[in-house]
């Protein structure tokens, strides 16, 4: 699994020819430029996992065959999960300043 790189490497230290170790994208958090965020309503959710199947960024968190939330570190806010959810358990909301979800995002990062 790719280590998180602390400083930018020089040409002598860099891996040859841009061959990257598998799994390095785990360290590249792509979720911080969304303009909309999916908000999950646990009460409406039937755990059909359509959202898990459709999510192009593997950002639906699942434990013991049940949805447990959205991984905002990687979610780009495309809205596919909300569009596909048969029970309207996911709603897209605009990201605003001081947004609750933005805060959640920060907490996620701390963990």
């Amino acid at each position: 699994m790719g280590e998180k790189i602390k400083k930018k490497l020089g040409w002598k230290e860099l891996p040859l020819a841009d061959f990257l170790e598998a799994g390095s994208s785990l360290n590249f958090e792509t979720g911080d430029w969304r303009s909309q965020q999916p908000v999950w309503d646990e009460k409406k959710c039937k755990h059909c996992l359509f959202c898990w199947i459709y999510c192009p960024d593997s950002s639906i968190m699942v434990k013991d065959k049940k949805m447990t939330g959205i991984d905002y570190r990687y979610c780009k806010g495309c809205g596919i999960c909300a569009a596909e959810c048969p029970f309207k358990a996911i709603e897209m909301r605009r990201v605003g300043r001081g947004d609750l979800i933005a805060k959640q995002n920060k907490e996620e990062r701390k963990r």
């Binding site: 040859l16 020819a17 598998a22």
Partner: protein
């Protein structure tokens, strides 16, 4: 060492070398005058003489792409082409070299369209001179064969792709004497290919060709530049080993009486053979003539050329391609650049010759040496660039 001599064209000799190399994958598309190479090779595949996976692709762009994919998967991969075919491979040439893939490609030199022409000049491979490929040029059928064999080792040691060129029709379709290696000799010399990173190694998965922006692209290009510098030692070392085992000498260039010459030419490819005859005739007349035949154009052996050429009084560089830059041909630019740091520089002129297969004979080459002698006598250059043999 084999004493078996045979008459072969360069295309046949290349196919023979490929049979001995027995690459894991060959992907190719036919193009005159390189068609025979893969035509003969595909017969070897059909007859079970090689175990190669042969991929008859729909274009040269696909040929180079398939070879890049095969090489990444961990295969020893080859293709062959010429002229327009090389031009169509263009974007993938840079990918092969930047991904550091030891692809081996015989390349038969032919003029680029338009106007359409199938005969020899070096404009195709000269155009690809900055694509990060090692380029080995050949004077004869034997050199073409020997270069292909050595290219495998050079590519796999330097982790750079290697292009071995031969002159279209002049060598590709003309019979010359060839002394090939025995199959076992070739196999032992080449050795087994053991790639360090390859995609079929499922225990060690990796990503290839990921986005590489302002913060890393430059460093990766610097790595490539270093590989080209390092490849100089590798080319010499493998040339030495080849000479030790098989008796034929291969360096960056051949010094044909340059060392004590006053007037000398720099030539690439088959025209060097004709030039040697002229040099011998001039030497009989006590004229101190010499010829530097360049074998390795990429990496460019600037330091070594400078050392050899520093005592020559007047030099003519013969280009079988035009840069169309309103100055000179490509070889001339590089040779003149290499001599710039000398305290006392030789006088130097450029001849562009043989475009589209226009013949160059003893008479034309004699005329070049006559010009050089005149410059040596008078100290004056009348014309920096001459289009040799073109009708006014």
């Amino acid at each position: 060492m084999s004493e078996k001599r045979m008459a072969k064209t360069a295309n046949e000799a290349i196919a023979e070398a490929m049979r001995q190399i027995n690459p894991d994958v060959v992907a190719a598309y036919p193009i005159t005058p390189a068609t025979e190479i893969v035509q003969i090779f595909s017969q070897f595949v059909a007859d079970g003489k090689v175990t190669t996976e042969f991929v008859p692709v729909e274009s040269e762009h696909s040929a180079m792409s398939a070879v890049v994919g095969a090489s990444l998967a961990g295969a020893r991969a080859m293709t062959a082409t010429s002229s327009q075919g090389l031009a169509l491979m263009w974007e993938i040439l840079y990918i092969a070299s930047a991904l550091r893939l030891p692809v081996i490609m015989p390349m038969v030199n032919r003029a680029l369209s338009a106007p359409i022409n199938i005969h020899c000049d070096h404009s195709d491979s000269m155009g690809a001179r900055d694509s990060g490929w090692i380029q080995l040029y050949s004077e004869s059928v034997q050199e073409t064969y020997d270069n292909v064999i050595q290219a495998v080792r050079i590519a796999e040691r330097s982790l750079l792709p290697v292009m071995v060129t031969t002159d279209g029709f002049i060598l590709s379709h003309c019979l010359e004497l060839l002394t090939p290696l025995l199959d076992k000799e070739a196999k032992d010399f080449i050795g087994e290919y053991r790639p360090k990173n390859f995609l079929l190694d499922t225990e060690h998965p990796f990503t290839v060709g990921a986005l590489d922006l302002q913060d890393y692209y430059f460093e990766h290009k610097r790595q490539e530049a270093e590989a080209m510098i390092e490849s100089k030692k590798i080319i010499l070392k493998i040339g030495e080993e080849f000479e030790r085992k098989f008796g034929r000498r291969y360096e960056f260039f051949e010094d044909y009486k340059v060392i004590d010459s006053e007037v000398a030419t720099v030539v690439i490819g088959s025209a060097a053979g004709t030039t040697k005859v002229v040099v011998d005739q001039l030497r009989e007349e006590k004229i101190k003539a010499g010829l530097l035949k360049l074998r390795v154009f990429r990496p460019f052996p600037a330091e070594e050329l400078k050392e050899l050429l520093k005592n020559v009084k007047v030099i003519a560089v013969l280009d079988r391609a035009d840069s169309l830059n309103a100055v000179s041909g490509p070889l001339f630019s590089e040779i003149r650049n290499a001599l710039y740091d000398l305290e006392e520089r030789p006088k130097i002129v450029n001849y562009i010759y043989g475009l589209g297969g226009r013949d160059i004979g003893l008479k034309e080459i004699h005329s070049i040496y006559e010009d050089l002698e005149e410059i040596n006598r008078t100290g004056k250059i009348k014309s920096l660039l001459t289009y040799l043999g073109v009708r006014e």
